[in-house]
Amino acid sequence: MSFLIGTEAIAHVAFWIVVGLTFGGAVIAVFPRNIIYNVLGLVMALSGVAGLYLYLGSFFIALMQLLIYVGAICISIVFAIMLSRPLHLEVPKRSVPKVAMAAGASAIFFAAVVGVIFKSNWVPAPEQSGDWSVVTIGHLLLTRYDLVFEVISLVLLVAIIGAIVTAGYSRRFSS
């Protein structure tokens, strides 16, 4: 019995650590003026979200989160930073009215969302709705979500064309 309580406590602690990682990462991603810190904060927050997925029992999605968001997207952001304006230059000052307005808007939105969350009674999901193994996801992608899957490839094509076109601009920009 005490063993069970022990694991539950550990699970709770792990949950709050993950939540803390997510929130802390989000704060670091927004506030520091050095953009490298922002990216590292983003890495932390996204890893925290991966932890949340793991906590919800979705091993595959947690891995994908790490692989795609932390592994690919954050790295490409770092590349983008490397190729853009030098970091040692003076960063422009934050204007107070802008910060106040942004904070106000986010506070209102946050209050609204929290209000909605508390006002509605959420239907607790069944333990795990169906089988979420890689095999099932693969089947679903090629049957039910076939169209979505294919359209995403088109989105990527368009994004690549866009990247090439805009990169052409920036090359002329620097020369």
């Binding site: 006002k119 039910r144 076939d146 601009y169």
Partner: protein, 472 residues
């Protein structure tokens, strides 16, 4: 043959691939490319006409083909063909990227077609992204590249914000109902509409389309993007992209809107603010494209009235209005492209002396502006009439009154444009505009369509009604 159902989409995909191959050859043959694009776009219209009567569903019931979707696909294909028709001289676009214009216009149209048929939120989201991404890049292709990049970036940032909102809304919907399939949602939601979470989720999920349609909180991009984009691209955004957004809003509200008063109230507020902000801001504009952008915001408000009436008449009115917007807005842009033939931005006063430089264009502009303002006997009047009567049926008297006041406000700046075209004397001597025969024919045809559809709207009205019937 189930794949026949998918024929318009397949056609546009193949057309896009054709331009992908052409762009890889590297050589620019402006006339040849334009002719190929025009031929493909017109063939696309033919394919859409041929598939007008198809019905069925694909991809495990997540993709619905009915009269509603096919009518909108036809409208979208007509819009693309019209826009390609004025692309013969792409002076507003950087020369080395002229291939990419067609290469991006076709997938974008494909995406809008996927949008009007998708009845799964995931499909809707991904198609929306495809059309938005194409447009972001198209906007950035402006010859004056600082302007283009700035406009593209603004469009992108607002767009990303809107799609984040949309995803958030979809998450809330999924959290409360456990499904993203619109058909299943339509069965579950009516019982849940009293929950705040569902209404908020639905509104947020629709915000992606409020963005596309430039409805009030997401209208900030419109003026800058219209001004920064090349004329042809702005024409495309003002016509095809708006029509697709109206289609999705109509379908989603018809299937999911249910009978929530709160939902209707929010839509009513958005509609009123969009109309008023759009019209008041338009008065202050000097640049013609900025003015048109704000007038688009106002028109989005009118369309919302039809949608929030939530009766077949309102939906039919919104569909009819989508057709009207396509023709009216395109006509104004046609005039713009021809008057500002060198691809630079045009001030309202730049229209001075148009009636002498090209009487035909001046007349087309006049009819289009009357139609936009909603004066009889034009298609714009019929559209507004249908929408307002549908709203009155549901007792939205105050809303119709505000809309009427807005129509009067809008008359002011439309007449200012008209005054510039007919009464102002140009500051320097301007040579007459030389128009090619097809363009003359097109301008004449547009005038005839706008007037004829205003006087004899029966056929189009029936089409819109039948399309709306299928939704309920």
């Amino acid at each position: 043959m189930k794949w026949m159902l998918f024929s318009p989409e397949i056609f546009y995909l193949l057309a896009a691939l054709c331009f992908l191959l052409l762009s890889m050859t590297g050589r620019l043959h402006r006339r040849r490319d334009h002719h190929i694009a025009l031929a493909l776009a017109v063939a696309g219209v033919a394919v859409c006409v041929a598939s007008l009567q198809l019905e069925g569903s694909l991809f495990s019931e997540t993709y619905k083909i009915d009269l509603f979707s096919q009518v909108f696909k036809l409208l979208l294909s007509v819009g693309l063909a019209l826009v390609v028709g004025i692309c013969s001289e792409l002076r507003g676009i950087q020369e080395r990227y002229e291939h990419e214009v067609y290469l991006l216009l076709f997938p974008c149209t494909l995406a809008t077609m996927l949008l009007v048929s998708s009845i799964h939120w995931l499909g809707v989201y991904v198609s929306l992204e495809l059309s938005s991404y194409s447009l972001y890049i198209l906007v950035a292709l402006r010859k004056d590249w600082t302007q283009g990049i700035e406009a593209g970036l603004k469009y992108f940032l607002v767009g990303v914000f809107a799609s984040a909102m949309m995803l958030f809304g979809m998450v809330i919907l999924y959290g409360t109902t456990g499904t993203l399939d619109v058909k299943q949602l339509a069965q579950i939601l009516p019982g849940l509409m009293s929950h705040a979470a569902v209404v908020v989720g639905l509104l947020l999920a629709l915000s992606g389309f409020f963005f596309k349609l430039a409805v009030f909180p997401f209208h900030f991009w419109a003026a800058d993007v219209y001004q920064g984009a090349a004329h042809q691209i702005a024409a495309y955004i003002a016509t095809v992209s708006k029509v697709a957004a109206i289609a999705v809003l109509v379908r989603m509200v018809a299937m999911l809107g249910g009978s929530s008063d709160y939902f209707v109230h929010v839509l009513a507020v958005l509609s009123v603010v969009s109309m008023t902000v759009g019209n008041l801001a338009a008065i202050a504009q000097k640049d013609l494209k900025r003015l048109l952008a704000y007038s688009t915001v106002a028109h989005a408000g009118y369309v919302l009235i039809g949608i929030l009436s939530m009766n077949p008449g309102g939906y039919a009115g919104a569909i009819f209005y989508a057709m009207a917007i396509l023709v009216m807005k395109f006509t104004v842009f046609l005039v713009l492209v021809k008057v500002a033939w060198d691809g630079t931005n045009l001030e309202v006063d730049g229209l001075a002396g148009l009636h002498r430089r090209s009487p035909l264009l001046a007349m087309a502009l006049m009819v289009a502006l009357f139609s936009l303002a909603g004066l009889p006997p034009t298609v714009g009047f019929t559209g507004k009439f249908l929408i307002f009567t549908a709203a009155m049926e549901r007792g939205h008297f105050a809303l119709v009154l505000i809309a009427m006041i807005n129509v009067v406000i809008s008359l002011y700046y439309y007449l200012l444009m008209l005054r510039a075209a007919y009464l102002l004397e140009p500051q320097e001597q301007c040579s007459p505009l030389s128009l090619s025969a097809p363009i003359k024919l097109l301008a004449g045809a547009l005038v005839v369509v706008m007037v004829a559809a205003g006087i004899f709207p029966r056929y189009l009205m029936d089409l819109a009604r039948n399309a709306a019937q299928g939704l309920m």
